[in-house]
Amino acid sequence: MTVLNANPVVYEVAEKIDITKVKYDINEQDETREPIDNEEVFDLIRTINDPEHPLTLEQLNVIRLESVHVEDSNNYVSVTFFPTIPHCSMATLIGLCIRVRLLRSLPSRFKIDIFVAEGTHQSDAAVNKQLNDKERVAAALENSHLLKVVNQCLIEKE
């Protein structure tokens, strides 16, 4: 398979945090709610791997902190992503990966919308429709080959 965008621009990213090594005082007694915010959601998806390159979506600037919108109290999350090139055939797959990661990591009360940023893709309307169609997403995930590819993208590297 030829790589569509062979030489993408790579952006500097924050260091990956290994949750098992984060120091946190677990003897803390304060149970006040810390709401889910866009940084937390961004942190969930920034390590997703690009299907074509050995780079993460954050490194490719496909996802950005400011394009993650979270309303904890209204149970709503939307993520807008930016394909590196307008004819990127991987856009749907990337969107699917983001959706699967969020389905696995956010409480089920959330409604999740995934969008391609307007004007960044030649068929953005079609991709958006596909990504936010429950039946189609479910059907896609029943395809074992596709699920394998998605899982591959979701593996967190060291």
């Binding site: 949750i19 003897n27 007694q29 149970e31 709610r33 810390e34 937390e40 942190d43 990591s105 967190e156």
Partner: protein, 1007 residues
């Protein structure tokens, strides 16, 4: 035919039959039932079969048996024969891999006749067409070449006229980074060791085609080669021979104009690295093209990230051209600086800044170039700065002058240098630069920074300024250091002061440091003292002014306590003392100076502590650093000093004799073991513990052990038992513990302990007293001594302790006591080094105790503390040696359902260790355990599921997902995934993150 051979030949590749037959055959060869010769004979038909598949199988079998049987079964002669056989087979594509495996194995493991070795590369070069083979085959070929170069260089030398050109031709167009590394390695060996001269151009072409090399490691980087490794190896190859320069320099110069930054950077790197190796003529021939590109790139094209690389390169090239004598330096600097100098004359030229950088770079490291350029430009520059220029021009010019002065300092110019003629102009201009009051001047801050830097450079020039003038500059810096609100300006001043300290140390220690001390004494509301202390530390270390600063800081500390300053401030003062001592120790030759500070520190701190202790004042709450500092001193003092200090501190404690030098209020008596111990008192005991732990056994025997006699110990034990202060009791008990551990007459001390326990402590424990905590603490520390000494009575005593668990009021003290006995963390690392525990004794003791606790648990109603004690013991012991795990498991599982967060945490911690160490033992209870854990991850309506409980449960679920086979976990996977939904919505961010991590782990479990 041997049956195994038949089976192997007839069975398909990689099947069970083929493996079994091969293994059996290897076994037979090892047992000497079958010899390699017999196998060859049996295979004779197969090895020359016309069917390539059969032939390949035969060769594969022979080589695999040969490579895997014991080495003793093979003679060198046999190895030679097989090597020859393999070499002959290299033209047979079907059996190529086996033959190569054989060659590699034989070359690695046997001493072979040199004639055959010499034949090996020849045949390989003739027969192998490397680019046509698949990756695994190519890799073996390169391994063989690498082995030949490493092990058989002398043989290669004798056939160098065949090997060198042959190798260069054979390895062309290789792409695998592992093999490329081998090529670079062998080429380096060829250039260093063999006659490469006739083939210079070919070798250069082979390696230069890889330039510039980039490589993106695959995820996980299994091959463990980085882009840097490849770059480095290629660079070393490219500069390995002077003859390469003829081809390399023009091509590298051309690559400097590439549009890729990495290519430019790599080309510069090689051109500079080759500076001392390449032929100078080739640099000389390319002077014009090189300087043109360097200038253009530094001016326009390089971009910010590369600018510094080009500037550094310009400096390096001055050094390279100086190889050709001053004549070539002249040529180089003419080429490089003519245009920049003319740009600078045209003030305000857009290339002004770059021109300045280029000129400075050219003269930076070469004194001849420096003098030449300065003679040319300096007089005019001095004229210009005297004129009333607009701020932009003046700022630019003065920065230019400052850069030149920095370089002048690098060259250590003397007083006859031209720059000295412009003394007054320079001083006036730099002072004038900062006196700019025009608020709208956007260059104001730049000019201030240039002024600070410029004055610094002037002060550093030998004999340039008078002492008065330098003092004035230091005053200026001090002012800014203390009062300026801008952090960068303050930092710059600190840096300048430190820079000046090597030549003006007395001025800085007599002016700057006192100012800093005074500032520290003032009332500082904000945390400005952080900065002042940081500066004090830096300057003290730089000027080696340790003693004075430490004594001043203690002084300020004492005054701070009087004035009731904040705890953060006071403890930061002590931390500063600690930092200064630690930094001083790191510096060569300064350790002695630090040792000299010890009396001052010790006397003053002891005086403060004793005074406060006598007055029973409670202000000292920041004393943690004091023991740490004593500890650091103990590590650097010599034997005699330690002994003296030990005697002194013992005198204070035992004889209540205070050193005369101390200015201590004598109206009240000092009681070193005042049980109403204020904090200063506990600090004193802590110091005594530190000293007793760290002295050598010799000193202990000759001083401590004599001074602390039985009478004193008895008194100490009584004071511990009778006090109500558990903090004091713990410290004093710890002191008794350290003493008993180190005391050399074991019989005597163990008898004493027996007496204390059976008389003093038992009388309290058996009584109806409500408060027994301090007695239990001492009891536990004494039991710890006996346990370490493997005393038989200890079981009885700890049983007694365990039985207190019945009593609700004392159960928690009992659990705490068990922690004291078995937890290594209750004492410092140094104390732990003083003893070793008999493993077998420990195992038996813990097993007995566990059994006892289980019995108590079964017979009592109040069993929560039993479970906590059980969890604690299991956590602190080696779970593999615990005997009655079958009884423990159900209790601990049940405890996961109890509504008590302390019990829950203790039990989960136990299971975490259990699952990671012995996962198989929990297989049957796995589903139950997981279900309990899931319920513990939910916070809603379960107040006992604290953050700690939730996090520990999630961590354990994560450990479980990694410790068991997927078929064991799959039945419950979906439940776990569904139920963890609650934890994903936890109130706490950290718990949610843990839950996401854990849930993702469970998603990866697949069939």
């Amino acid at each position: 035919m041997i049956p195994e051979i038949q089976t192997f030949i007839e069975s398909k590749n990689n099947t069970k039959e083929s493996f079994d037959s091969l293994n059996q055959l290897i076994q037979s060869v090892n047992n000497r039932d079958v010899s390699i010769l017999m196998i060859v004979e049996d295979l004779s038909e197969t090895l020359i079969s016309t069917d390539p598949k059969i032939r390949a199988k035969g060769i594969e079998l022979l080589i695999r048996v040969f490579c895997n049987c014991k080495k003793e079964t093979i003679t060198p002669k046999m190895a030679s024969v097989i090597l020859k056989f393999c070499l002959e087979r290299l033209n047979d594509l079907h059996s190529l891999q086996s033959s190569l495996d054989g060659i590699l194995y034989i070359l690695q493991n046997f001493e072979i006749n040199h004639e055959i070795i010499k034949e090996t590369p020849k045949i390989m070069i003739d027969e192998l067409i490397i680019p046509g083979y698949q990756q695994t085959v190519r890799q073996i070929i390169f391994k063989i070449y690498e082995l030949l170069a490493d092990k058989y260089l002398e043989d290669l030398r004798s056939i160098e006229d065949i090997f060198v050109p042959g190798f260069v031709q054979a390895v062309e167009s290789e792409k695998d980074p592992r093999n490329i590394m081998v090529i670079f390695k062998i080429i380096k060996i060829i250039v260093d060791e063999l006659n490469y001269k006739p083939y210079v151009e070919d070798i250069f072409e082979l390696i230069f085609c890889y330039f510039p090399i980039t490589f993106k490691a695959p995820p996980g980087n299994v091959i463990k080669i980085t882009s840097e490794d490849l770059k480095d190896a290629l660079k070393k190859c490219l500069i390995s021979a002077p003859e390469f320069s003829k081809f390399a320099i023009p091509q590298l110069i051309e690559k400097l104009t590439s549009r890729l930054d990495n290519t430019k950077r790599d080309s510069l790197d090689v051109l500079i690295a080759g500076g001392n190796i390449y032929n100078f003529e080739d640099y000389a021939d390319n002077l014009n093209s090189l300087t043109e590109i360097l200038r253009d790139e530094a001016f326009d094209n390089a971009g910010e990230s590369l600018e510094q690389d080009f500037i550094n390169a310009i400096t390096s090239f001055t050094n390279i051209y100086s190889r050709g004598g001053n004549e070539w330096v002249d040529k180089y600097i003419d080429e490089m600086t003519t245009k920049p100098i003319s740009h600078i004359k045209d003030f305000g030229h857009p290339r002004g800044k770059f021109s300045r950088n280029i000129i400075c770079a050219v003269i930076k490291e070469n004194e001849y170039a420096f003098t030449k350029i300065i003679n040319k430009i300096f007089p005019e520059l001095m004229e210009k700065i005297k004129q009333p220029n607009p701020p932009s021009v003046q700022s630019f010019l003065m920065e230019y002058v400052r850069n030149i002065l920095t370089i002048a300092n690098l060259h250590n110019i003397k007083e006859d240098h031209m720059i000295y003629q412009y003394k007054d102009t320079l001083i006036t201009s730099f002072y004038k630069l900062k006196e700019n009051d025009d608020e709208e001047n956007e260059f104001k801050k730049d000019m201030e920074i240039t002024s600070i830097g410029g004055l610094y450079e002037l002060a550093n020039l030998k004999g340039f300024l008078t002492n008065e003038q330098i003092k004035e500059i230091i005053d200026e810096y001090n002012n800014k250091l203390l009062l300026d609100s801008r952090e960068d300006i303050r930092k710059l001043c600190l840096k300048s002061l430190i820079g000046l300290s090597s030549t003006n140390s007395d001025l800085i220690t007599s002016i700057t440091l006192p100012l800093l001390y005074d500032r520290l004494k003032e009332d500082m509301v904000d945390s400005h003292y952080e900065w002042i202390l940081q500066s004090t530390e830096d300057i003290t270390v730089e000027c080696k002014f340790y003693e004075d600063t430490i004594s001043k800081l203690i002084d300020i500390y004492e005054r701070g306590i009087e004035e009731k300053k904040s705890n953060e401030y006071l403890s930061r003062l002590l931390e500063s003392i600690k930092n200064i001592i630690e930094r001083g120790i790191q510096i060569d030759n300064d350790q002695e100076l630090i040792v000299n500070c010890f009396p001052i520190f010790k006397d003053n701190i002891l005086r403060i502590l004793i005074n406060y202790s006598k007055q029973q004042r409670e202000e000292l709450s920041t004393i943690n650093y004091i023991s740490i500092i004593f500890q650091i001193f103990m590590n650097i003092l010599d034997e005699n000093q330690i002994k003296k200090f030990n005697e002194e501190i013992l005198k204070i404690f035992i004889d209540k004799k205070l050193p005369n030098i101390m200015d201590i209020d004598n109206t009240t008596e000092f009681d070193p073991l005042n049980e109403n111990s204020p904090k200063s008192q506990t600090c004193l005991i802590d110091i005594l513990i530190t000293v007793t732990t760290n002295i050598s056994q010799k000193i202990f025997d000759s001083t401590t052990s004599k001074k602390i006699n039985e009478k004193y110990l008895n008194k100490l034990v009584k004071s511990v038992i009778n006090t109500l202060n558990s903090y004091f009791s713990n410290l004093a008990s710890k002191l008794i513990f350290i003493y008993c551990i180190r005391f050399n007459n074991e019989k005597k001390i163990q008898k004493n302990i027996k007496n204390w326990i059976e008389k003093d402590i038992y009388s309290i424990i058996n009584s109806n007293m409500v408060f027994k905590e301090t007695a239990i603490i001492l009891f536990s520390w004494l039991c710890k001594v006996l346990y370490i000494k493997a005393n038989e009575n200890v079981t009885k005593y700890i049983m007694k302790l365990v039985n207190i668990i019945h009593d609700k009021n004392h159960a928690s003290s009992c659990v705490n006591g068990l922690k004291i006995i078995f937890d290594k963390d209750v004492i410092s690392e140094d104390s732990n080094k003083l003893y070793t525990v008999d493993k077998e004794f420990e195992e038996n003791l813990i097993n007995t105790l566990i059994e006892e606790i289980i019995t108590i648990y079964k017979n009592s109603e109040n069993n929560i503390y039993c479970i906590i004690a059980l969890g604690l013991l299991l956590k602190l012991s080696d779970i593999r040696t615990v005997s009655n795990k079958d009884e423990i498991k159900p209790i601990m599982l049940y405890s996961l359902t109890l509504p008590n967060s302390e019990v829950l945490s203790s039990s989960i911690e136990f299971f975490s260790i259990y699952v990671s160490t012995l996962p198989s033992e929990l297989k049957d209870d796995l589903i139950t355990l997981i279900k309990y854990l899931i319920s513990l991850t939910k916070a809603k309506n379960n107040p006992h599921n604290t953050i700690k409980v939730r996090v520990l449960s999630l961590k354990l679920l994560d450990i479980i997902s990694k410790s068991y086979e997927s078929y064991e976990l799959l039945p419950i996977k979906q439940t776990v995934l569904n139920e963890l939904d609650n934890a994903l919505d936890d109130n706490k961010k950290y718990v949610r993150k843990m839950a996401v991590h854990c849930r993702n782990q469970w998603f990866t479990i697949i069939n």
